[in-house]
C-alpha cells in the first residue's frame, strides 16, 4: 500500500460505528491506493454495507475521518435501476449524472460487453435479477470514477457474470483505479493486491 498522497484514492482513519447498541467496527483504518482491490469480508450483519456507506459519504452517523481524493462510483444492494426504463435509458441517465459524454452506440457497446446483446431496449422489469445486476455494473465501464465501492457485486450473477466482474475489476486496477468490494464469496481477481478485512461481528 503506497503512502504517496497522489496515489491514495481514499483514506479512512479510526472509523467507529454503532448501530442499535452493537459496535460494528471500532478504530478501523483503511487506505485504498491506486491499483488496490480490497475485499471486505465478514459474516452477514457484520457491517460491510454500513462501512461502504460511511466511505461513500451516504451516512454521517459514524466517528472518524474519511478522506475521498477522487470521484467514486457506488453500487449498492439496491440496484439503482428504474424498472420502467430500458437498460439504455438507465445508462443514459447515469452518463448525464456523471457528466460523461457517451453516445447511444457507446452505451450499447457497454451493454454488449456485459453480455446483454439484444436487451438494450427491454424494460428492466422484464430482465432477470442477474441481468439487472449486469446493467447496474455496466455503468462502471464509463463512469470514469477512479474509486469503486461495490456492495456484493457477485449477487445473482452466473459464472460468466462473475468472470465479467473479475475482468472488470482487473482492468480497472491495471488502469490505476481502486475498488473496495463487500463480498462473502472470494472475488479471485487475478493478480490483485487483495486485502481481506475481518470485521468484528
Amino acid at each position: 500500500m503506497t503512502s504517496e498522497p497522489e496515489h491514495c484514492l481514499l483514506h479512512a482513519r479510526s472509523l467507529s460505528c454503532e448501530r442499535d447498541g452493537r459496535l460494528l467496527f471500532a478504530k478501523l483504518d483503511l487506505t485504498i491506493a491506486a491499483g488496490d482491490v480490497v475485499e471486505l469480508r465478514g459474516p452477514n450483519g457484520s457491517g460491510k454495507t454500513t462501512l461502504l456507506r460511511c466511505l461513500a459519504g451516504l451516512t454521517a452517523d459514524f466517528e472518524g475521518d474519511v478522506e475521498r481524493h477522487t470521484p467514486i462510483a457506488y453500487c449498492g444492494h439496491r440496484g439503482g435501476l428504474k424498472a420502467e426504463l430500458t437498460p439504455l435509458e438507465n445508462l443514459r441517465w447515469y452518463a448525464a449524472l456523471a457528466g460523461v459524454d457517451v453516445g447511444v452506440g457507446g452505451l450499447c457497446e457497454q451493454l454488449d460487453a456485459m453480455g446483454l446483446e439484444g436487451y438494450a431496449l427491454t424494460p428492466c422489469q422484464q430482465l432477470s435479477a442477474g441481468q439487472q445486476r449486469r446493467v447496474a455494473l455496466a455503468r462502471l465501464r464509463f463512469a470514469s470514477a477512479p474509486l469503486w465501492l461495490l456492495d456484493e457485486p457477485l449477487t445473482s450473477l452466473d459464472e460468466h457474470g462473475c468472470a465479467l466482474v473479475r475482468d472488470l475489476l482487473d482492468a480497472h486496477r491495471r488502469a490505476g483505479g481502486g475498488a473496495i468490494c463487500a463480498t462473502h464469496a472470494a472475488l479471485e481477481v487475478a493478480g490483485a493486491r487483495t486485502q481481506s478485512l475481518g470485521l468484528r461481528a
Binding site: E6, H7, A34, A56, G57, L58, T59, A60, D61, P71, I72, Y74, G76, H77, R78, G79, G80, L81, K82, A83, E84, L85, E89, R92, W93, Y94, A96, L97, A98, G99, V100, D101, P123, S144, P146, A175, G176, G177
Partner: protein, 232 residues
Amino acid sequence: MSEIAIAEPRIGRLLTAQIRRDLTVAFRSPGEMINPLVFYLIAVTLFPFGVGPGVERNAAIAAGVLWVLALLATLLALDALFRRDYDDGTLEQLALHADPLFVGVLAKVLAHWLVTGLPLTVFAPLGALMLHLDPAAMPTLVVTLLLGTPILSVIGSVGAALTVGLRRGAALLALIVLPLYIPVLILGAGAVTARLDGLDPTPQIVWLAALLAFALTSAPFAAAQGLRVGLE
C-alpha cells in the same frame, strides 16, 4: 490516473436528463400519474351532492373547494416524489453524483409538477363548471392555480425529502406540509373570491408570483439537505 478523464458535470444536462427520465417513468406507469387528477375530478363532483343542488350555494364555495382539492390532490401525489427512487436505489445515486444536488431536486419537482399540478390546472375549469363558478372568474382561477400548484409541489418536496426514509411517512408528510400550504390557499382562493366580488385580484396574484419565486429559489436547497438526512 491521467488516462481516466473526468468530465465536468454540467448543470443544464443534469436538469434535462432528470426531467426526461422522470417524465418517461411517469408516462410508462400512467395509472399512478392520473390518480391525483381522477381524485380531483371525482371529489369535485361529490360536493354538489353534499351541499345540495342550489346554483348559488355551490358557486359561493366553488373557489375554496377547487383550491382545497388541488392542494389535497398535490399532497396525494407527493409521497411518491422521492419514495419510488428511494426504494430502487436511484435516489442514493442522485445524492452521490448530482452536483449540486438541489438541481436534481429541482428537476424532480418540475417533472412532478408537469404530471400533477399542470393537469390539475388544465382541468380546473371543468370542475369550476360543475360547481357553477361565475365564468368571469375562470381566468383568475387558472392563473392562480398556474402560479400556486408549483409552489405546492416545491414546498412539498421538503416534506417528502424529510420523510423519505420512514416507512409510514405519508401521515407525517401531511402534518409537515399542510400548515405551509395555508398562505398559498388564502392567496389563491382569495384572488378568485375577490374577482367574484368585483374587486381587483392583482395584489393576491402578485403575492403568489412572489411566493413562487421565493419557493423555487429556496425550497430545493432545503429539500436537498432533507434528502441527505432522509437517506441515512
